[in-house]
Point group: C2
Chain length 552, copies 2
């Protein structure tokens, strides 16, 4: 049996475009005499559709579109993820389903059993879990068709979101094995993090080996606001050896015989480095944010520091140098090297730039506020006014010329609230908001590995917000090595203050950092969407109360 | 059997304060010779604790605190909502539980069966649903103890969130009836909306009548950022007649005999008007946002328009006139009546105010941007610069003096994106962000019913943002009567464009409005938290993709 996968980049709610893409691949596969072509989970509507699933109109569009696609399935079968209406009298009104299309019909609808409802996932908000197990008989084969999480029941500690040995009380594959399948198909919408591809491979391989069945896995690629889907579709033989892999972050169509057992066909996954993966994920995140909204041009404030430098490099890589405007916004507190470093980077990238000094506006606002501020010392209020005036100017240029403002905050800053709300926190998309400062350095070194793109001085000088004379980040924050290590244990590993101290960190420091994280939830509530690259990003995957007392 | 309820206002994560409150009520009840005192769902940690539930430390604190409270339960029993650890090998690691404390012990832990996971609820993110049903035997009575949603299985169309006849496949009360209980206790965390109290009463009453059992219902009061809990605890006899009610939005302790059948004890619920409820809910929302974070003073921009006028009245009612600073920020486009109306209101309320004209700063920013803006016409860019400079000034005063900025955007504006991101969208709390413009008028009339607090001119003049000469809202938007009616059908009633048109609205207008709603998701993503007063507020209860194509 000749099987193909179509690892595609879908547009949420764009039924026409998504259907056209699917039909195009079906037609290609027909020419290749493919028997069965497989598309990812919820391909038809894009993932995650969120509360669009509560719209009856949206569901009707799904039904119409799947019927249309079915008409193209003659001489070829297709598996396509899409919502299905629950016709039972009880339960949520939808299933997360896989449609088996054949002979111009919907021949079977297979429903997802395990509905992830943690981190960025909210599937139980919309879908009823499946409880009836069925096999697809096709071409003398019996297919165990599963949807993403359905293969993730055998969790062990290394990848259990809640540290509970087994989050699910049911094993879809164990149920399906009673029906004697001869292969496993898994359609997925599995978002990227820099550890996910390895975990995923391990889980899939374990399923192939455990059930001694060949397995094909088909994932989305492309970005949906915060979430980046890395693709990485793959197929295993029944010994759990890889026989086909798709590239990361790219659309891919491939066909092969899932039941061949030629040892020569076994392939190796060449895992890209963490930096390469993050670099590509962020470019994908920017690129799709723009293309899917028909935006062309980006703007950002370039300070001469490392965060805006990295963001600019990524924006230019994603959108082209002709589509990125870097704005230098010097104040009286900007050092000469800041301007020089920023200009050197602009020069290296050959992108557009302009210089808009904020000093006059700053003085004017101070003068206006002088009666109110009388007899007070220069404080964080004056610091923030500068950051906010930069926001005013960047958004002014954005509104005037249609640029989309990219936010340049890193994850360490967002964690401890070291940023000005409505100032440097402005922007439509927080490009590096899930990248810790130490990871920002590592990414810059990765970018500079062949030639110096980001000026070396940007990488070596001490980080500073330059909002008061001779300010350094280290005046207000621990050194970033230390800060990031503590943040990682708290945010990614969900350790308590006590547990982090047991790792050898100073108790006072740990409590100070954790309290900063907690009390700045209000700022993150109003932050731009963050491109997720870690297993625990700020945004939809981390939901904390704003009003709460949880002093560590 | 003498039963008491304690309708209390808890502080999320503040175990010491919550425990102290609970113990205080237990001690009062002991003096009253109460047999059993009942506290709301998840009292111990506050509701909703969100991802704090993923912290092991947080769960350990819950366990320690419940053990401490149990020590006070001698000569009295108590029912207290708190998370319980799932000791089974499979399933999510927690239950949403009700602890039955007696004889200084945890005598029983009852677990929640129906976990709401729609709108503002995410309970399936944290909790495993109960599947084993038990009765509490106490004082020769057999109590069917249920937790909030557990009584909401018999939904009919009028209050089903997803329009599906029955969302749940199991009925906890039907299971419990097999064990012959003689009363029902329901502990809840049921947030306010202006329809919720009536729906709730109907559901509770239906349970009492259906099972012919007396029923006591105990709810939270107080606000948790977006969510306001209105209390409204109540008790029914087995005929479904009310025998006790608690006030709305206030802490309340009351004891009574659930099994008395004296007809004279039957009470009537005097439902407050919609305006009164919303007025009180918003005051509660402001008040608790401040008190639970140890904030004292609020600031807001007062334009002379109706939205900021209403917000100021609410802030003064919540925080006291001495704690509210109104700032007039006139520009060259501000009309004389705007300043007069604003000053008249300040005068009526006797609150603090200052006038900070933005014209000089506006001109300064324009001059700075002149080289970039050369040869362009005055546009939305210049309009927004004014709104953003107001944000800079208000946040400057906030940072300098510790005021919390209140946002004054209404729901109609937030819906269609008629507001400036980082400008008039600034603020820590969006006080009237769930109140449509037409409801804003109704609330102002309610406030003015005895004497003119909000100047009549503010209520009668055409709404204007005053960001360009002679601007009126109606230049950009449909009349608010029409706009709000369409928005309500789309947002609250989830109707499609087609369905709304069938109600008689113009198709072009409907599509224009719905497209405005969809394409402004990015603004709402960065909005301040909105106090929820409707069944469908922007924020945690409405989750839409930002990047999506869903042109109506």
């Amino acid at each position: 049996m000749k099987i193909a996968w179509a690892q595609l980049n879908f547009h949420i709610g764009n039924f026409n475009a998504n259907a056209a893409k699917i039909i195009e691949q079906i037609n290609i596969a027909k020419v290749d005499s493919v028997d069965l072509i497989v598309f990812p989970e919820l391909s038809l509507c894009g993932y995650p559709p969120l509360d669009f699933l509560e719209s009856n109109h949206f569901i009707e569009e799904c039904s119409k579109t799947i019927a249309l696609i079915a008409m193209h399935c003659d001489g070829i079968a297709a598996i396509i993820g899409a919502p299905a209406i629950n016709n039972n009298e009880t339960g949520k009104r939808l299933f997360n389903a896989a449609y088996f299309l054949n002979n111009k019909c919907i021949e079977k609808i297979i429903k997802k059993t395990l509905l992830p409802n943690y981190d960025v996932f909210d599937e139980y908000r919309y879908f009823e879990p499946n409880i009836n197990f069925e096999i697809i008989a096709f071409n003398n084969h019996k297919i165990a068709l599963t949807i993403c999480e359905d293969l993730w029941d055998q969790q062990d500690e290394t990848f259990t979101p809640l540290n509970h040995a087994k989050m699910y009380t049911i094993s879809p594959m164990q149920e399906l094995m009673k029906l004697n399948p001869d292969c496993i198909i898994n359609i997925a919408a599995s978002p990227f993090s820099y550890v996910q591809h390895k975990t995923r491979l391990k889980v899939l391989q374990r399923n192939a080996i455990k059930y001694q069945l060949p397995l094909i896995y088909v994932n989305h690629c492309g970005a949906q606001t915060e979430l980046v889907f890395d693709g990485g579709s793959c197929a295993f033989n029944k010994e759990g050896k890889l026989i086909a892999t798709a590239p990361f972050f790219k659309e891919n169509y491939q066909h092969f015989n899932l039941f061949q057992s030629d040892e020569k066909l076994i392939v190796e996954y060449a895992f890209p480095s963490k930096n390469e993966l993050i670099y590509k994920a962020l470019i994908c995140g920017i690129s799709d944010y723009f293309s899917k909204q028909n935006f062309k041009q980006a703007i950002l404030g370039l300070s001469g520091g490392i965060d805006s430098a990295l963001t600019l490099v990524l924006a230019v890589a994603a959108l082209g140098k002709e589509n990125v405007m870097a704005v230098l916004l010097p104040s009286a507190f900007s050092s000469a090297h800041s301007i020089d470093d920023a200009l050197a980077l602009v020069n290296n990238l050959a992108c557009k730039h302009q210089v808009v000094p904020i000093e006059d506006s700053f003085q004017s606002v101070l003068k206006t506020l002088a009666p109110s501020f009388a007899d007070t010392a220069f404080s964080v209020a004056e610091e923030n006014i500068q950051a906010r005036l930069r926001g005013v100017i960047l958004m002014g240029l954005s509104n005037k010329f249609g640029y989309i403002l990219l936010n340049t905050s890193n994850k360490s800053e967002m964690a401890v609230g070291y940023g000005t709300l409505y100032g440097d926190m402005c922007g439509g998309l927080a490009v590096i908001g899930d990248v810790y400062k130490t990871e920002v350095y590592a990414l810059c070194e990765y970018i500079n590995k062949e030639k110096e793109i980001i000026p070396i001085n940007t990488l070596t000088k001490p980080p500073s917000a330059e909002l008061r004379p001779n300010q350094k980040d280290s005046d207000s924050l621990p050194e970033y090595d230390m800060l990031d290590a503590i943040l990682f244990q708290y945010i990614e590993n969900k350790m308590s203050a006590e547990e982090i101290c047991e790792l050898g960190y100073d108790e006072k420091l740990v409590k100070r950092v954790l309290n900063m994280v907690n009390k700045n939830e209000y700022k993150r509530k109003q932050a731009a969407p963050v491109i997720r690259i870690s297993p625990k990003a700020f945004g939809m995957g981390r939901r904390m109360p704003i009003v709460a007392n949880y002093t560590i």
